[in-house]
């Protein structure tokens, strides 16, 4: 058992937001069959959104590009899915939410409370939804205000997911901490684009999107490393983790837990694989506790 911002996780791997999180049943599948210690839902907002036209996700040699455009059924439409996940997942369920203003964030959080999410993750980092996500997450004052607004209306932990598409991520992390965040999650996708050279068309329906997977891991490691130094609250690492080695690296940079997203492309049970890999590593190296490796890279030099 592993404790993170007061939540009891059976292991430190967490399903990242926006991945297999549209339905209660798929969240349960990731928790049960996949072995995730906790799961985060698709980002839910104040009104139904169909998202951007397709193609909305493509696989590249170095990772994945996506521009979903925050498709979601709105918080009233998501209550039954969240309720199902809560009743059947046997793992904490974190509701990812977004809005265009602090009061919209608070409205969505309050609206989802009847289904009793274990925590909220504030999406202030989606790189390709106008007026939402990174549009808020690159402004420290707004990040602080959004965090404080949600903290005001809920009594469960609040995590804030940060964008790497800013000059200094620690400044945004500090704003989240000042707003009362219980943890930050770093990082969301890195802005990216692909063009079809046969026709000249940008491939994504939204023209550009966010890069995830292998290519972004070094970016995520650096962000987690810097945030670990700058903040008092835990940093949850995400970005390009697809193996136990990636997870250990992320924890040594300072991550208290690790989220996994696009790696479910290869296998849904990537979570149990990572967890058992971490366990074996700890035994082999003689670490008495997983906490011994969190932030290790800061201590050895």
């Amino acid at each position: 058992m592993y404790t993170l911002t007061g939540l009891k996780l059976k292991n430190p791997t967490i399903l990242a937001a926006g991945v297999l999180g549209t339905t209660g049943a798929s969240l349960c599948r990731v928790a049960r069959e996949g072995g995730a210690g906790a799961v985060v839902t698709k980002s839910i907002g104040p009104a139904p959104k169909t998202g951007h036209p397709n193609p909305s996700m493509i696989r590249l040699d170095c990772g994945f590009l996506n521009a979903m455009g925050l498709p979601n059924p709105s918080y009233p439409g998501f209550l039954q899915e969240l309720e199902f996940a809560k009743e059947n997942s046997a793992a904490p369920v974190i509701a990812s939410i977004f809005g265009g203003t602090p009061s919209e964030f608070a409205e969505v959080a309050e609206g989802l409370l009847p289904s009793k999410p274990d925590a909220f993750e504030l999406n202030v980092s989606c790189p390709h939804a106008e007026g939402y996500g990174a549009a808020i997450g690159s402004n420290p004052c707004l990040v602080e205000a959004v965090t404080a607004a949600v903290k005001d209306v809920v009594n469960v932990p609040v995590w804030v997911k940060l964008t790497p598409n800013v000059a200094d991520i620690t400044c945004i992390g500090n704003a989240a901490e000042s707003g009362g965040a219980d943890a930050v999650v770093a990082i969301n996708t890195v802005k990216g684009m692909a063009i079809d050279i046969e026709s000249g068309f940008p491939v994504l329906g939204n023209r550009s999107g966010g890069l995830s997977g292998k290519a972004v891991k070094p970016v995520a490691i650096k962000c987690v490393y810097d945030l670990y130094t700058a903040l008092e609250i835990p940093v949850i690492g995400v970005g390009g983790v697809s193996s136990w080695k990636d997870a250990v690296e992320m924890m040594m940079a300072g991550a208290a837990a690790v989220q996994v997203g696009s790696a479910v492309y290869d296998r849904v049970d990537v979570f149990s694989e990572i967890d058992s890999g971490i366990e074996a590593f700890l035994r082999r190296k003689g670490y008495s506790d997983i906490k011994k490796i969190i932030g290790l890279a800061h201590e050895v030099v």
């Binding site: 297999l20 169909t50 692909a194 046969e198």
Partner: protein, 259 residues
């Protein structure tokens, strides 16, 4: 993978609303029942079952398919795939029953041909609204018996494929493969369930696909949470017991929509 540039080599008018687009690329390793994502540039990208290893057969239903219908031979579209899990190939001498409704015949025809080439006996129940809408009748006829049903009675049994099925002993078949409108598949599902032959059956589902590659989760079905784009689109009948089949699907926002 980035979409490959598929150049249209031939267009065949199958019925007023259905056309087959042949393209200059062969998916040699395709499993019948797999799909491709067809990118009509500047409009949308939609999933289509492969009707041969070098063709898709498309019903004009929305913006992307309407735009596709404006394309001529020599024009091109983007293609990614093949994706997902197809139908299970029967063993030699197995008896296979194909149940196809409307444009559902598209992924089933290469399956029927592959099964026949593998030495299986292939019979088909083929349904459509009217005689002119029957799809790939000659392809199925070349392999074995074809039992036809049309809604208006213009050919074969008047009614739905389930009406044509009533005259057949489904238990005599080793495998049953189904694709068509969801209401039709749901009634076939109930019939096979009553006859206690669900474990022999496979169904090809359609759901709204967002990423199409198994990551986003927009197409997950209840209660299993299986992804139609990656764990399917072909599922065994047993996997669909107690599922949402015939009851609801989800729209692009994830909201449930009654079927």
């Amino acid at each position: 993978m980035l979409p490959l540039n598929a150049i249209i080599t031939q267009i065949t008018e199958e019925s007023p609303l259905v056309r087959t687009f042949f393209f200059d690329h062969r998916f040699e390793d395709m499993e019948p029942g797999q799909f491709v994502m067809v990118w009509v540039r500047g409009v949308d990208e939609v999933p289509m079952g492969l009707s041969r290893n070098n063709s898709i057969t498309v019903q004009k239903v929305g913006e992307a398919t309407s735009k596709l219908f404006e394309l001529k031979e020599g024009d091109s579209f983007g293609l990614r795939g093949p994706f997902g899990k197809g139908f299970t190939l029967p063993a030699k001498d197995e008896k296979l029953l194909i149940i196809a409704g409307g444009v559902g015949a598209a992924p089933l025809s290469p399956y029927a041909e592959a099964a026949s080439a593998a030495g299986a006996e292939v019979n088909t129940v083929l349904g459509a609204r009217n005689a002119g809408d029957l799809l790939f009748e000659e392809r199925f006829e070349a392999l074995g018996k074809v039992y036809v049903s049309t809604d208006d009675g213009s050919k074969g049994v008047k009614g739905f494929v389930t009406d044509a099925l009533k005259n057949l002993d489904v238990a005599a078949y080793d495998r049953i493969a189904v694709c068509g409108p969801e209401i039709m598949m749901a009634s076939v599902f109930r019939l096979l369930e009553e006859k206690k032959v669900l474990e022999k059956s496979e169904f090809s589902l359609h759901r709204y696909f967002k990423c199409g590659i198994g990551v986003c989760g927009a197409c997950c079905i209840d209660q299993s949470g299986l992804r139609v784009c990656k764990d399917g689109p072909v599922f065994s009948g047993v996997q669909l017991i107690g599922s949402e089949l015939g009851k609801y699907s989800r729209d692009a926002s994830g909201r449930r929509v009654k079927i």
